[in-house]
Symmetry: D2
Subunit: 309 residues, 4 copies
Amino acid sequence: MDCRSDEELYQLVQESRVHTIEGMVADYIPALAKADLSSLSVAMAFPDGSCYSAGDVETKSTLQSISKVIALALALLDNGEEYVFQRVGMEPTGDPFNSIIKLETIAPHKPLNPMINAGALAVSSMIKGESVEERLGRLIHLTELIIGEEGIGYNEEVAQSELETADLNRSMAYYLKQHSVIEDEVDEVIELYTKQCAIEMNCVDLAKVGLLLAMDGKHPATGEMILPPRVASICKTFMVTCGMYNASGEFAIRVGVPAKSGVSGGIMASVPQRCGIGIFGPALDDRGNSVAGWDLMEKMSKKYDLSMF
Amino acid sequence: MDCRSDEELYQLVQESRVHTIEGMVADYIPALAKADLSSLSVAMAFPDGSCYSAGDVETKSTLQSISKVIALALALLDNGEEYVFQRVGMEPTGDPFNSIIKLETIAPHKPLNPMINAGALAVSSMIKGESVEERLGRLIHLTELIIGEEGIGYNEEVAQSELETADLNRSMAYYLKQHSVIEDEVDEVIELYTKQCAIEMNCVDLAKVGLLLAMDGKHPATGEMILPPRVASICKTFMVTCGMYNASGEFAIRVGVPAKSGVSGGIMASVPQRCGIGIFGPALDDRGNSVAGWDLMEKMSKKYDLSMF
Amino acid sequence: MDCRSDEELYQLVQESRVHTIEGMVADYIPALAKADLSSLSVAMAFPDGSCYSAGDVETKSTLQSISKVIALALALLDNGEEYVFQRVGMEPTGDPFNSIIKLETIAPHKPLNPMINAGALAVSSMIKGESVEERLGRLIHLTELIIGEEGIGYNEEVAQSELETADLNRSMAYYLKQHSVIEDEVDEVIELYTKQCAIEMNCVDLAKVGLLLAMDGKHPATGEMILPPRVASICKTFMVTCGMYNASGEFAIRVGVPAKSGVSGGIMASVPQRCGIGIFGPALDDRGNSVAGWDLMEKMSKKYDLSMF
Amino acid sequence: MDCRSDEELYQLVQESRVHTIEGMVADYIPALAKADLSSLSVAMAFPDGSCYSAGDVETKSTLQSISKVIALALALLDNGEEYVFQRVGMEPTGDPFNSIIKLETIAPHKPLNPMINAGALAVSSMIKGESVEERLGRLIHLTELIIGEEGIGYNEEVAQSELETADLNRSMAYYLKQHSVIEDEVDEVIELYTKQCAIEMNCVDLAKVGLLLAMDGKHPATGEMILPPRVASICKTFMVTCGMYNASGEFAIRVGVPAKSGVSGGIMASVPQRCGIGIFGPALDDRGNSVAGWDLMEKMSKKYDLSMF
C-alpha cells in the first residue's frame, strides 16, 4: 500500500464517523447488508504520486454505481459520443436512480442520463465484446489501466446476491429493449451490469480513479494518456450534474466537486488538476449516498477549498 | 352455426363499417397487422337461445384483452376475492393499458385494476396449475363451459408473434415481481398471458360469453351455474369502469353497457338479463378500441335502449 | 319532516356507526373540522313518496363534492353535451380528487372528468348567469326543483372558511384558464364553486336528489320532468365511474350503485327505478369518503340487493 | 459603450447567426413575439476592464429567466442560505421550466430548485421590502451595483404583456401558497416576478453580470465585494446544474460553463476567474434556449477553451 496514513485526515474521519449511526445499509442487496455500518475510510491521491489515507483503509468494497463512470468511459471509447448519446440523454432527472417513470413520459424513450440505472444499463450494453466475460474483462482491464495496477476483480458473492434481486433492473432493461435502446439479450445485459457493479477495490485505488479523471485522462506517474481528455471531461461533467443520485444538486452546492457515489457507501471524487478522493462508508442516507462520506466530503471541501464554483 | 343472419343488424353493420377507414390495425403485434381492416361482424345472443348476426360472422379472431375477463373469473374461482384483491386493485386509471407509471407512484405497488396489462399479468399468475399448459388448459376449459361448446383453442402464430414483441409486458412483470405481486417465473407468466390473449373464436361465441355474464353466470340453455353470481358481477363491474381501455368512461356515457375490448378489434358486451353481444372489427382507434365496433355499439344501444344508466 | 324513522335502518346505522372512530374530519376546511365525528344519518326515498330514515336525521350538512352532480346537470342544461365535453373529459383518473398532474400530462389539457375538482371548476364556470349570485341562485333553484321543496340555502360560514383555504383550487383554476378551459375570472369561478359546495340540506333531502336521478329526471310525486332523461343518465354514469373519489372502482365492486360523496361526509346514491339514498357521516377515510357511510351502503346493498351489476 | 467590436467574435457571430432560422420566438408572451428573429449579439467582459463585442450590441432585451440568478442572490443576502433552502430545493428536475407536476409528487411540496419558475416565484417572494416597488427597486439597485452603472430599468410593455398571460405562473404560485412555501399575496409575487423578468439591458451589461459572478462577487474595477463569494458560488453552481432549462445537462457537456438563459433569447455566462459573457438572440429552440446563442457558446468554448470540466 503506497499511501501514508495522515493525522489531519484521521481527525476528519473521526468527526464524520459519528454520522454513520444516522445511516442504513442497502438492505435490498443481501450481500451488502452485511457491511460494517460504522466503517469509514478515505484516501487522497495527488499528481506527484503522494497519497494520504485514514480509517479502515484495507477494507475492499464493491463499486456499485461508481462503476457507471468507468463503463461510460469504455462505451465512449468503443462507440464514440454520437452513438452513445443517441441512446442515452445528458439531463439530470430529479428522480430516484431506479425510477422508471421518465422512460414512459419522455419522448423519445431513452434514459435521461448514464448515471441512473436505466441509462447505465444502456451504457453497459454498448461495451463491446463477444461475451459477458469478454466485455467484463475489458472493463476490468480499463480499470486496471486507470489505477495503474493489476489484480482488480469482482466480488462473486455480491454479484450473485444482486443477480437474484435484480428484478427492477430487469424491468427497466426490458422497457429499454421494447424501445430499441438495448439490443442485446436482457439477461446478458443484467449479468454484465451486475458484475460490473461488483468490481471491488479499497479507497486508495478508488482515489486513483478519481485522480486520473482529475488529470484529464493522463496517468500521473507514466504520463500515458489512458482516456482521451474529452472522455474524462464528459465523465466529470456527469459526476457534477448527476453523480450523487437525486442529491447531486445539493452536493454541487455544498461540496462543489465532481463525484460519483454507490450504494456500497463509496464516493469517488475528482478535483480538477489537484487530486482524486476515494471514500467508503456503508451507512447510507435515504437517497443512497454514504452519510459519513458526504459529511467528510463537505469537511474536506471546506478545509482544502476544493470547490470548483 | 346456430345464429341467424339478421337484416336489421346488417343495416347497422353497413352503416358502422364506413368508420373502419378511420382506424388502424395493432401493428405492434405483427400477426395482428395482417387483419382485414374493413372487416366487421356482430352477433347478439339471447337467453332463450335465439341469436342474430351480421357481417363476416365466420371470421375467427383472437380475444387479446377480452381474455382478461375470463382469466379474472378463473383467478377468483381459484383464489377467492380477498386473495386476488390483495394483489390487484379495483380502480380505473385514466392511463393507457400498457402504462407502467402508476406501478411506481402508487403505494402499495400493485396494479390499479385487472383490466390494464399490469393487473392482467398479476391475475394470470394467480390461475392455478402445475404448468403453463395446465393453467392455459383450465382457462380454455372454462371458456368452453361458458360458451357451452368444445373446440376452443388458441392461435399459435399470433401467440408466437406476441411472445417475440412482449418486452413491455416483461418489463411490467419484472416490476411486479420486484414488489412480490407476481411470485412465478416471469417467463411462465408471459407465456401464459400471451397464449391466453391468443384464444380465438368468432363473434357468435363471443356473444355467448357476454350472455353468460348477463345471466349472472347461469348457462341460459342448461341452467347450470358456470360462474357464481358474485364472480359474474365483479366481471361486469370492471367491464363498466375499465373495460374499454382509457375510453371506458366515455363508453359508459355513450353506450352504457358492460363491455370489454381487445386490440384484435373485439368487443364483448353483457346487457344484464337481456343479451350478450360479440363484435370483431380490427380497425382500431388511438386508444385501442375497434372504431367500427364502438360505433356499432352506440347505434345498437340507442336502437335497442341497452344502457343501464 | 315527511320521512318515517325505521327500525331496520336504525339497526344498520347502529352497526355502521362503530366505524366512525376509524375516520377523521376534513381538517383542511376549518369549518368542517367542527363536525361531530360520531354522527351518522340515513334516509331512503321511494317513488311512491314513502321515506324511511334513521340516525341524526335533523342534522343539516353541506354538499361539498356532491354538488358537482347538480352543477353538471345545470351546465348540461345550459350548454348541451357537446359544449360541456369539449371542455371536460369523461374518464376516471385513479388520482386523488385534487391532483393537478394530469392537467399537465394529458393533451389536450382538459380535466379528465367533471367529478374531480379541476373538472368541477370547469363545469361551474359553464353555469350561465350575469353574476355569481345569479349563477348560484339558478343552481339552488334547480336543487329546489329536484327536491320538490323551497328553502335550500348555503352555509355562509363554511363557504367563507373554504374561500380562505382554496389556494389549491385557485391553482387548478389558473391552470385551466391558461389552457382556455375556463374563460371567466378565476376569483368568480372560485367563489361560485365554493358557495355551491356549501349548499346544505339534511339526509332526507339528499335522498330526494338521488331519487330524482333514479327516476330518470322525472319528479316522482308530480310527474314533472325536472331533468331530461339523458342528463340524469349522464349524472348517474359519472357517479358510477368517478363518484366516490379514487375509490369509485372499489365502491362499484362492493356496492354497485351510482353514488357521489363529499368531504362533509355525505353520500347521495341513486338506485335506478327503485330509490334514492342520502347519508351524512362526517368521519372520513383517507380518500375522502364517509367511513361509516360507505359501510352502511355496503350493508344496505347486500340487505336490499341494490347492486346494478 | 466601453466595449470594442471584435473581428474574431464577429466571425463567430456570423457563423452562428445562420442557426437563427431554426428557432422561434417565445410567442406565449405577445411583447416578446415582436423580437427580430435574426438578431444576435455577444459581449465578453474581462477582469482587466477590457471588453469585446459583436453583432447587434445596442439592442436591449429583457432578462426573463436570467433575472432568477440575481433574485436568488438578493434572497440569499436578505434571508441567508438556511432560510432560502428550507423553501426551495437544490436539485435539477429534468422537467420543463414551467412544469407543475413535481410540486405534487415530491414531498415536502417545495420547488426542486430556484431556476424553474416555481422555485423562482418562491425566491422572489423572499426579497424583502414593504411593497412591490421597494422590492423591485432593491433588485434593480443590486443589478446596478453588479454592473457598476446606474440607469437599469424594466420594460413596462413586456411586463404588462406577461402579466396578462401569467396564468400558469399564478397557478404555480397558488400551489406554493397552499403549501406555505409562499406567504405573500399571490398577486404581489406575480407582479414582482413579472417586472423582475422585464428588467432590460444590452449584451455588454449582461456580460458584466457574468463577470462579477466569475470574480466571486468582487467588482473587477473597484475591488468592492458586491456579493459574498459564497453567494456567487451558489449562483454559479445552479447555473451549471439547472441554468439552461431542461437542456442544462447537455449544455454542461457541450459547453461546460456556468450559464443562465431566458426566453428573451439571452444567455449570461461566467467563466470562473476569466470572463463574463452576454448574448442575446431571440430565436429559441424547443426548450427555450437561444438557438444561435447556444451555438455561439459552443464555438466560443472550443475556440477559447472555456470548459470547467
